[in-house]
């Protein structure tokens, strides 16, 4: 897409958006949509993309600001995309219907951290949020059938909840509490890096009671737990972002359970080789292999959950979005518009290049 003075100016003027959402561009073809992702056009405009497996765009929904992750309820085809920290909008739509997206917020004094998930029956949506005045993380609870009306909150038992995930038991929510405090008036500034207390916690979805908490302490106190996924044995695998001295970067990927202590993966080269940053986590469809993307380093790290060993590491510049594909393979997306299919041993299966698209942090399989 060519750029000219006009598009440049329009792109900049749109920066302080009003929160309005543009129209849908194309008719949805539910059966053909394989992935949903957020992205940026070269004009600087942000959008949600519904993609076929070959990377072609089925539908595009314009956003007034940058989106982040995608929550998906497979039986109903419902999708919710959350604004990126410290954004305040969420966009809901259905894969099989070409109706305008529904926009909702977390209410006054709240902002999203970009992640959420549906209950198994699809009646409730959970979102990671900041109680700004209260300086605490919360899990917002929304009634899907009532137009995503907010009906309650649980504590996240930490500051800066990032990815939250309803576990396979349908009763427990795993929360990556990044530990980082944000106030929208200071935009994305990290306000408490020297006192941050990251943790991986398990919360009872119904009562909101704390089930278990793994706090990052000592030499790991600056390891911000951000992204989570669950393997076939029920363990939670997490990827962190190191906020301490780069020279002291520890391992970034680990696992834990409500009843099992936290263990870090011994990745060759350590967290320094991953430039201190894991951007997304995914599990293979058979639940065995774990993928952790490291956009700053341009790697995807693959771990066999059975052995806990690294089995592959691929190279893709600015890779971040990662999702399962087939039984044991993965799809990875990059900020340079690439969608690549690869095995857990890091062999490339195929690759597609989209023009004019920078894929954002997350890619969600919906087929």
């Amino acid at each position: 897409m060519a750029i000219d003075r006009r598009s440049l100016l329009l792109g900049t003027l749109a920066f302080v958006g009003t929160g309005s959402i543009g129209k849908a561009f194309a008719a949805a073809a539910h059966q053909t949509v394989a992935y949903v992702a957020t992205a940026r056009r070269s004009s600087g405009d942000f959008c949600i993309l519904l993609l076929k497996a070959d990377g072609s765009i089925v539908r595009e929904i314009a956003l007034s600001a940058r989106g982040h992750d995608v929550a998906y309820h497979r039986p109903s085809g419902r999708v919710v995309v959350f604004a990126r920290r410290p954004g305040t909008f969420a966009v809901a739509f259905e894969l099989g219907r070409n109706t305008p997206p529904h926009i909702f917020t977390g209410g006054a004094g709240r902002h999203y951290y970009g992640h959420g998930g549906f209950s198994q029956d699809g009646r409730l949506l959970y979102a990671s949020e900041n109680d700004i005045a209260g300086e605490r993380g919360v899990i917002g609870i929304y009634d899907v059938g009532r137009g995503y009306k907010k009906i309650g909150e649980h504590s996240s038992y930490g500051i800066g909840p990032h990815e939250i995930m309803l576990l396979a038991d349908g009763k427990t929510i795993a929360v990556g509490n990044g530990g980082i405090d944000t106030v929208p008036d200071a935009w994305r500034a990290k306000l408490n890096l020297d006192t941050m207390k990251p943790s991986l916690v398990f919360v009872d979805a119904e009562s909101g009671k704390l089930v278990a908490k793994h706090a990052m302490t000592g030499e790991f106190k600056s390891l911000s737990v951000r992204h989570v996924t669950q393997d076939k044995a029920g363990l939670i695998w997490f990827g962190g972002q190191w906020e301490g001295s780069p020279s002291e970067t520890p391992q970034l990927v680990g696992s834990a359970g409500p009843d099992r202590e936290l263990r870090l993966v011994d990745a060759p080269g350590g967290g320094k080789d991953l430039r201190g940053y894991i951007g997304a986590m995914a599990v293979s469809n058979d639940g065995r292999f774990i993928a952790a993307s490291a956009p700053k380093a341009g790697h995807v790290l693959y771990v066999d959950s059975e052995s806990g060993k690294v089995v592959g590491k691929s190279n893709l510049k600015d890779v971040c979005g990662i999702s399962s594909e087939g039984r044991q393979d993965f799809a990875a997306s990059s900020g340079f518009g690439v969608i690549r299919y690869e095995t857990a041993t890091a062999s490339t299966i195929s690759e597609h290049q989209l023009q004019d698209i920078a894929f954002d942090n997350h890619l969600r399989r919906v087929a």
């Binding site: 792109g11 008036d185 500034a189 780069p246 956009p295 600015d318 340079f336």
Partner: protein
């Protein structure tokens, strides 16, 4: 005579052609990084280190004499450090990132009021051990650097001076000043020592644990430029445009908000020039160079709060809205056009991930 005149003309023509082609020859990526480090980074970290050195003595003088002259001298010394810091605030990698030095030197923005909260506790407890070597470094970053010192310097209720109520405050203020000297010295040393960050960036390769190529070194500098444009736009200008935002400007107690903005923009412009990204533009995109130059003129024609800069080169005074939009446009053009034209791939996700 006629022959020598022809020879002279031929020589001028060849020099002119050579100059033109030299000017059009873009720098290598490693040369970009080298120019930025040698002409911008090192002089600015050195300037910050030098500006910090007189600070402890200036605190001591006020605490001994309490005179208006000593107070003025302290405020001047403080302003020198703040404005020198504005030129390196966006170099958030390497020695500044290590050990959390940036937050310790300048804990801002502070929408939660951490500085005031932590200061209140320390002033209440009056534990003089805080002045012992290494003790302040164990406290919250909020009370280790410039914002905490600013509060003590400008507290009209208990001014620094040779009085009993100010005794602990003087001890504390001196410890902060000494801490700032240590931190700024560590930053400069981290860059300049043999095997330091300058060497690391200028000797990329397979064995380098951070920079594998000259391109990666250059990308680091471009990312710093983008961080600086974002910080200045989002934290200094945006609150002027969106009045719902409540954010105290940087060093407002000292009246340095405008000077901080000017120093930030001047630093970013110098860093931008040092990279020579525009040299890579093909003729059909040459308009971007003019647009960027016009944007820098706009950014430098405002005082950052809606007024006119003393250094303004534009005949009119741009509105803060225009300045904010231009700042974002410049960020967009550097990230998505100029760096791409230069063959530098600044990743969308790696730049500011979550």
């Amino acid at each position: 005579m006629k022959q020598s005149l022809s020879a002279l003309i031929a020589m001028f023509v060849s020099i002119a052609i050579a100059s033109a082609s030299a000017a059009a020859e873009p720098p290598t990526h490693l040369a970009m990084a080298q120019a930025a480090i040698e002409t911008y980074v090192i002089p600015h970290v050195d300037a910050l280190k030098a500006a910090a050195v007189p600070l402890p003595a200036a605190v001591e003088n006020v605490c001994k004499s309490g005179s208006p002259e000593a107070q003025t001298a302290l405020e001047k010394a403080f302003a020198n450090v703040v404005l020198a810091y504005a030129g390196v605030d966006f170099l958030r990698f390497g020695p500044m990132l290590e050990k959390g030095r940036r937050e310790q030197i300048s804990f801002w923005p502070d929408p939660r009021g951490f500085v005031a909260r932590q200061l209140r506790l320390i002033l209440l407890n009056k534990d003089e051990k805080i002045a012992e070597p290494g003790m302040l470094a164990k406290q919250s970053a909020a009370v280790q650097g410039l914002p905490a010192l600013e509060v003590l310097i400008h507290d009209k209720d208990v001014p620094l001076g040779p009085t009993e109520p100010a005794r602990f405050r003087c001890l504390f203020a001196h410890a902060i000043a000494a801490n700032i000297v240590r931190l700024t010295s560590e930053v400069a040393d981290g860059w300049e020592k043999p095997g330091g960050w300058k060497d690391k960036m200028l000797h990329p390769g397979p064995d380098n644990d951070t920079y594998k190529s000259g391109s990666e070194s250059a990308v680091e500098i471009v990312k710093a430029l983008l961080v600086g444009l974002s910080l200045t736009g989002d934290l200094q200008l945006k609150p002027q445009v969106d009045h719902k935002i409540r954010l105290t400007p940087p060093y407002a107690k000292s009246g340095l908000q405008k000077a901080f903005y000017a120093a930030s923009v001047a630093g970013l412009h110098q860093l931008y020039n040092s990279l020579r990204l525009e040299d890579y533009l093909k003729p059909d995109l040459a308009w971007m160079k003019g647009w960027a130059q016009g944007t820098w003129r706009t950014l430098e024609s405002t005082d950052g709060v809606g007024g006119r800069s003393p250094q303004a080169k534009r005949p009119d005074t741009p509105s803060t809205r225009e300045v904010f939009d231009r700042m974002n446009g410049l960020r967009n053009i550097v990230a998505n056009r100029l760096s791409v034209a230069a063959g530098l791939t600044v990743g969308f996700n790696e730049l500011d991930g979550d």
